[in-house]
């Protein structure tokens, strides 16, 4: 690749925060040295130059162009407090500024929901005695970005949580993760470092006006490693000692959590972005992304890519093609699974030029979800892959809502039949009607996610559907799976296993 790295953020560097200047300086240095190859991957071009916005950059931990993941590479281990403070500086901000930054940055939820953090904070501020839950329950089996962030950049996550706690005037923060996720160790170590450094010491000013960000009383909590247990109401329920299953809510958690307290549940990446945005300013933070997708975004590349499970950070006006290039592809694959196993298939050729932004993805029927981008190579059978994923997701129902319990296994069976070439045309129509019946019927979005996945498969793989109906399974259906789906797990019939 011979195109030079463009320098971002643009604008007057004097108006930027310290770290932003660092990042700009690094980019300039790299440019003058002609470093455009590894570990930095300058990709894509599109109309970015015309719009005067920076070029799209996609890179792994520690590569140039990364923001959250800037600093040591993955091999360098976690950024400890000393390194974190040297890179980012201490937090010094009053409540009004935190709220301003939440406003100007429009940081959106990065766990899958995409809900603006500002709205949750506003709802919880209006009521009394809020609880903040840092959601580190990374449920998507192929996603690694939350684990990467908590393991390698734990202080950004904790900073973000401390900022939300300050904005809410609370000191109750719980960091919640799946049991056995490996995130507890690094997070606990980071909390110890902060305690030793006196982060929990308050000053005498009124908390709102003071620029000191006092660390809250951290609590770590773990719940069962189940797919639906990462959903916010399930997380809140688990934290409050209940089952890690979604429940039916009539008002938002930020207004009324399971114990009646306003409960803000926020994904770890979302919080890390807040920690950065407060330091750089909301506008500068936005400028790291594009008009349609403010800020940078963590993405897990999986499936038929050079290194499945590689987490990259994308900045600028990134397309799906840019991300695929970062995964080692030089031309469009057969199809791309976007947003997670509970995501959407996008045709490979369509995907290449699709902006990786909410509006861009929505034009092809998809959304960023948890940021997973999975590659289906030519020759593989998208229907067989979908069948395995749907079977897994059906087994992960929380077993509470009738149509989820009754409908998902039927969808899974139908997809299995289709993949094995045992379905007639009538069956396809019936499958679509089961999908319609299930949509919107659950207490959580789980059935809807499965329905979207199935609908997108029937659409993107329409040609394969015809072939399977006419002549049995394709050769690809016999191949080893591209997407590794966890094996079935047994929950005892008394309904245990959810705590």
């Amino acid at each position: 690749m011979s195109t030079p790295v463009s320098i971002r953020p643009r604008g007057n560097p004097l108006s930027l925060g310290r770290l932003a200047q660092d990042i700009a300086r690094e980019a300039r240095a790299a440019q003058s040295e002609g470093i455009v190859a590894d570990p930095l991957m300058p990709v894509g071009d599109s109309d970015a130059a015309e719009r005067g916005v920076g070029r799209a950059l996609v890179g792994p931990v520690g590569s140039l162009g990364t923001v959250l993941l800037s600093g040591p590479t993955a091999g360098g281990g976690p950024a400890d407090l000393e390194l974190h403070l040297a890179r980012w500086g201490a937090l010094a901000v009053d409540t009004a500024t935190i709220l301003d930054v939440l406003d100007s940055s429009e940081i959106d939820g990065r766990g899958g929901g995409g809900f603006p953090l500002r709205r949750k904070v506003d709802a919880a501020r209006a009521a009394g005695h809020p609880l903040v839950i840092v959601n580190a329950s990374e449920s998507e089996p192929a996603s690694r970005k939350d684990a990467t962030l908590c393991t390698l950049r734990p202080h950004l996550v904790l900073d973000g949580a401390a900022l939300v706690a300050k904005a809410l005037g609370t000191s109750d923060v719980v960091v919640h993760m799946h049991r056995g996720s490996g995130m507890a160790g690094p997070l606990r170590a980071a909390i110890e470092q902060r305690k030793a450094a006196g982060f929990a010491a308050a000053d005498s000013l009124s908390p709102d006006q003071s620029h000191t960000v006092v660390d809250p009383a951290w609590r770590l909590s773990e719940g069962p490693d189940r797919y639906v247990s990462g959903e916010s109401s399930a997380v809140a329920s688990s934290v409050e000692g209940g089952e890690a299953r979604p429940y039916f809510t009539t008002s938002p958690l930020a207004v009324h959590g399971p114990s009646g307290r306003p409960t803000v549940v926020s994904n770890v990446e979302t919080l890390a972005h807040l920690a950065v945005a407060v330091r750089l300013g909301g506008d500068v933070w936005r400028a790291f992304g594009s008009d349609d997708a403010p800020g940078t975004r963590l993405v897990t590349l999986t499936g038929a890519v050079a290194e499945p499970g590689l987490v990259v950070e994308a900045s600028g006006p990134v397309t799906l093609g840019d991300l695929l290039q970062a995964g080692g592809l030089d031309h469009p694959p057969a199809a791309v699974l976007v947003g997670g196993f509970g995501g959407t298939w996008v045709d490979g050729a369509d995907a290449w030029s699709t902006p990786f932004s909410r509006p861009g993805l929505s034009d092809v029927g998809a959304g960023p979800g948890c940021g997973m981008v999975g590659v289906l190579p030519p020759g593989a059978c998208g229907l067989a892959e979908t069948a395995r994923i749907v079977a897994y997701l059906a087994g992960e129902s929380a077993g509470q809502c009738g149509s989820c319990v009754s409908g998902l296994p039927r969808l899974a069976a139908a997809l299995g039949d289709l993949a094995r070439g045992r379905m007639r045309r009538r069956g396809v129509r019936k499958t679509a009607s089961i999908a319609d019946e299930i949509f919107g019927s659950g207490a959580c979005g789980h059935p809807d996610a499965v329905v979207r996945l199935v609908r997108s498969a029937l659409d993107v793989f329409a040609g394969d559907v015809e072939a399977h109906l006419d002549g049995g399974p394709c050769a690809g259906a016999e191949l080893a799976p591209v997407f590794m789906v966890p094996g079935p797990r047994r929950i005892d019939s008394s309904g245990g296993g959810w705590k």
Binding site: F248, C401, S403, S406, S441, A443
Partner: protein
Amino acid sequence: MSATIRIDPTRCRGHAICAVFFSSGIELDQWGYGKIIDVELQDERALKRARRAANACPNGALVVEEALA
């Protein structure tokens, strides 16, 4: 008037009693579970039927909410 009806799908056991009391507002899916046709209750009549259905549900799965004034 502003009132809504919702169904808690984690409680519904598919007794189908609700649909008898409020057939214009609740239908049953292919497995017999209740399904709300329109969350907004259009008039007093609908509200009355919705309340009756909610009272009849043996699992307390129906939630009728009226906005104050």
